[in-house]
């Protein structure tokens, strides 16, 4: 059968599916407005976190064709580093007693420290293990998988298996009023704010600076950029640094917003994979849309998957699956993906 013959019916089907999903969310939302606001904000704040992490993943892939399977491990390692430094340098206890204060600097310093260390680890990884395998994308993926196995086990050995949380500064408010309800200050202001700032910064760097111009050229034609006398290796190292910094930054945000615990590495690797499968590898805008789609689907599916007395919220992961399937059926390379 011709691909083109399939296109129209499949698009119609998709439009119907989208309409049904939107209709259901609108119906559920109309029943309880405050809940709808909270659930939507859950989705948006999750999406913001996914975006920070996945932007680094997609940037590294877009330029170097390296699928960094250790991206989730870098994310989790940053969380543990920040958690440990917050405890040992600032004496912040993980189970906060009433009246115990956490200063702003005792959150910012671990954040900066962990992010920078992860940036260095990422560049070291690229320079020592990946640089000389340039172009062998399968081998590079296997190398990063091996690293993720080692890192996961070592983190378990050094930080234990219990879920921990990085404490946010006590001077920050717990919640802010939004549209007639209250929502967590850290998630809404800090995480979403950070995602917006990072998105804008990355956009500006990639679209407006010389470095960004080189990156864009490198994505399209690495050999030509190199032939023009630009040191591609430095650009690669720079891109890997930014990608790892984003994983590290996201790890501290996630460790404060959710938790640092074993398994978070696999979870955020999966999230990053799905975000780029939806958005297209190497595209920043795609990462933003993919994160939003994944975050909202996760949030709505966790709450709205009830039909009368039948509770199907257990099956919420299936909606993620459907999201991936639909996207791959329509666009095998994702929304903004281009063939390698």
């Amino acid at each position: 059968m011709n691909q083109r013959d399939l296109r129209l019916p499949s698009r119609l089907l998709l439009a119907l599916l989208a309409a049904a999903v939107l209709g259901w969310v609108a119906y559920k939302g109309a029943q309880n407005g405050a809940q709808f606001v909270t659930v939507s904000l859950n989705g948006i704040t999750l999406a913001a976190l996914y975006f920070v992490v996945a932007a680094g993943f997609t940037l590294i892939f877009g330029l170097m064709r390296v699928v960094n399977m250790a991206h989730g491990s870098l994310y989790l390692l940053a969380g543990y580093l920040a958690f440990t430094t917050q405890q040992s340098w600032f004496g912040v206890s993980s189970n906060l007693l009433f009246g115990h204060t956490v200063s702003v600097s005792s959150w910012i310093v671990p954040l900066v420290f962990a992010t920078v260390v992860i940036g260095v680890v990422g560049v070291a990884m690229q320079q020592v293990l990946l640089r000389w395998n340039q172009g062998q994308d399968l081998r590079q993926a296997l190398i990063t998988i091996a690293l993720s196995v080692i890192l996961a086990d070592q983190m378990l050995a050094h930080f234990g298996g219990i879920a921990q949380s990085i404490q946010q500064p006590t001077s920050w408010p717990n919640s802010v009023p939004v549209l007639g309800t209250h929502y967590g200050f850290f998630r809404l202001v800090i995480v979403v704010g950070a995602a917006l700032v990072i998105g804008a910064l990355l956009w500006a760097v990639i679209r407006r600076t010389r470095f960004g111009m080189i990156i864009r050229a490198g994505v399209d034609d690495r050999a030509m950029v190199s032939a023009l006398g630009i040191n591609v290796q430095v650009v690669f190292a720079g891109a890997f640094l930014i990608g790892a910094l984003l994983a590290g930054f996201g790890g501290v945000l996630g460790g404060t917003m959710i938790a640092v615990q074993p398994g978070a590495d696999a979870k955020f690797l999966l999230n990053s994979l799905i975000v780029v499968i939806i958005g297209g590898m190497g595209s920043l805008g795609g990462a933003a849309i993919g994160s939003l789609a994944l975050g909202l689907v996760n949030a709505y599916a966790d709450v709205y998957l009830t039909f009368g007395s039948t509770d199907l919220t257990n099956y919420s992961i299936l909606l993620t699956f459907i999201l991936v399937v639909v996207m791959l059926a329509v666009r095998p390379l994702g929304l903004f993906g281009r063939p390698a």
Partner: protein, 348 residues
């Protein structure tokens, strides 16, 4: 028959003889903890190697598929937890393999238009989604796992009588190995290899590339399903924790150690894996929190890293490299040049 061929057949015969007599040669512990486990892990790995060697597809969905087979069987058959519908053990096993094959065809259809590293990522995402699905849907996974899954009489109790499951796994391994070699020679197998080498040309010749890749994925899922059934019989239980990303990586490591492109490598890699898994806990030295008897995963990761860095062809690659060097020193042997399989793929 040329002398080289005679030698090959003699060694194959000897190997089969040793395998057949293994229950009287090895202790029950070795038989069960090392050999039987290596056999079913090898089947899981060979499902991956089949796809990579003949289809050029590195799939990380094999553990997800074998989980589907295992959970289907455990829910249909007799067990503690889950739905335990009480089907005959063979019927439940058959249904499990069928379920894995159907989902394999579905997953294959989803991923078949993607190549290389994209294919790897999509299949990994699918496998992890299966893991989260069974973790969430406790009515199917029996709140942390389904225990005491009944085995057929032929297998018996795998703990008190390990020989039954050993022979079943051995026969399954031999049949799957021979079956894959057969499929590779059929028109379907040849077309698949053509697609691996040049999808654009095969499309131009009129082959339905996506359909061939989807069907191949279904065959891989069928094999993975058998591994899933054997793994449940072996452990007498199935739980979401046992089919997570860790096991996905274990199967990938086994396939890579074996060489990713050699069918035999699957079982060699699995044997090395189970030996390491069993004995590293006794001889691994303790070095602070970094290394110790509990740090098998670290050891595995390091072995994996070394293999990928030093010999992408795995153990079989090392062996073939040695043989090539030997041939260069001694001069080519008399008789036809033997096919050593495709070179390890180096990316575009």
């Amino acid at each position: 028959m040329t002398p080289a061929r005679a030698l090959t057949w003699t060694s194959v015969g000897l190997l089969l003889l040793v395998c057949a007599l293994a229950p009287s040669i090895f202790t029950a512990y070795w038989l069960s903890q090392i050999l039987t486990k290596a056999l079913w892990l090898g089947i899981a790995a060979v499902s991956l190697i089949f796809l990579s060697r003949y289809g050029g597809m590195i799939s990380l969905a094999q553990v997800g598929l074998y989980a589907i087979a295992g959970f289907t069987m455990a829910n249909l058959g007799t067990a503690f937890g889950g739905h335990h519908l009480g089907w005959n053990a063979w019927a439940a096993a058959g249904a499990g393999v069928a379920a894995a094959t159907i989902f394999g065809l579905l997953f294959g259809a989803i991923a078949s238009r993607s190549y290389g590293i994209y294919f790897l990522m999509i299949t990994l995402a699918l496998s992890v989604i299966v893991f989260y699905f069974f973790g969430q849907v406790t009515s199917l996974s029996g709140y942390g796992g389904i225990r005491d899954v009944a085995t057929p009489d032929l297998v018996g109790n795998p703990i008190t009588h390990p020989e039954g499951l050993y022979y079943v796994s051995l026969v399954a391994s031999v049949l799957i190995f021979a079956g894959i070699r057969y499929v590779a020679r059929t028109p379907f197998g040849l077309a698949l290899q053509g697609i691996r080498d040049d999808p654009a040309r095969m499309r131009a010749l009129g082959y339905n590339v996506a359909l061939h890749r989807t069907l191949a994925f279904g065959v891989g899922a069928f094999i993975a399903g058998i591994a899933g059934i054997l793994s449940v019989w072996y452990q007498t239980q199935v739980s979401p924790g046992g089919v997570g990303i860790g096991q996905t990586i274990n199967v990938l490591v086994i396939a890579v150690i074996g060489g990713l492109y050699w069918l035999e490598g699957a079982w060699i890699g699995a044997l090395l894996f189970t030996v390491l898994d069993n004995y590293s806990r006794t001889w691994l030295p303790t070095a602070g929190a970094w290394l110790g008897p509990e740090r098998f995963e670290t050891l595995l990761g390091v072995v994996f890293l070394l293999i990928v860095l030093l010999s992408p062809g795995g153990l079989v690659g090392i062996w073939n490299g040695l043989r090539r060097r030997l041939v260069r020193v001694l001069g080519p042997p008399r008789g036809a040049q033997r096919d050593l399989g495709p070179e390890p793929a180096e990316g575009p």
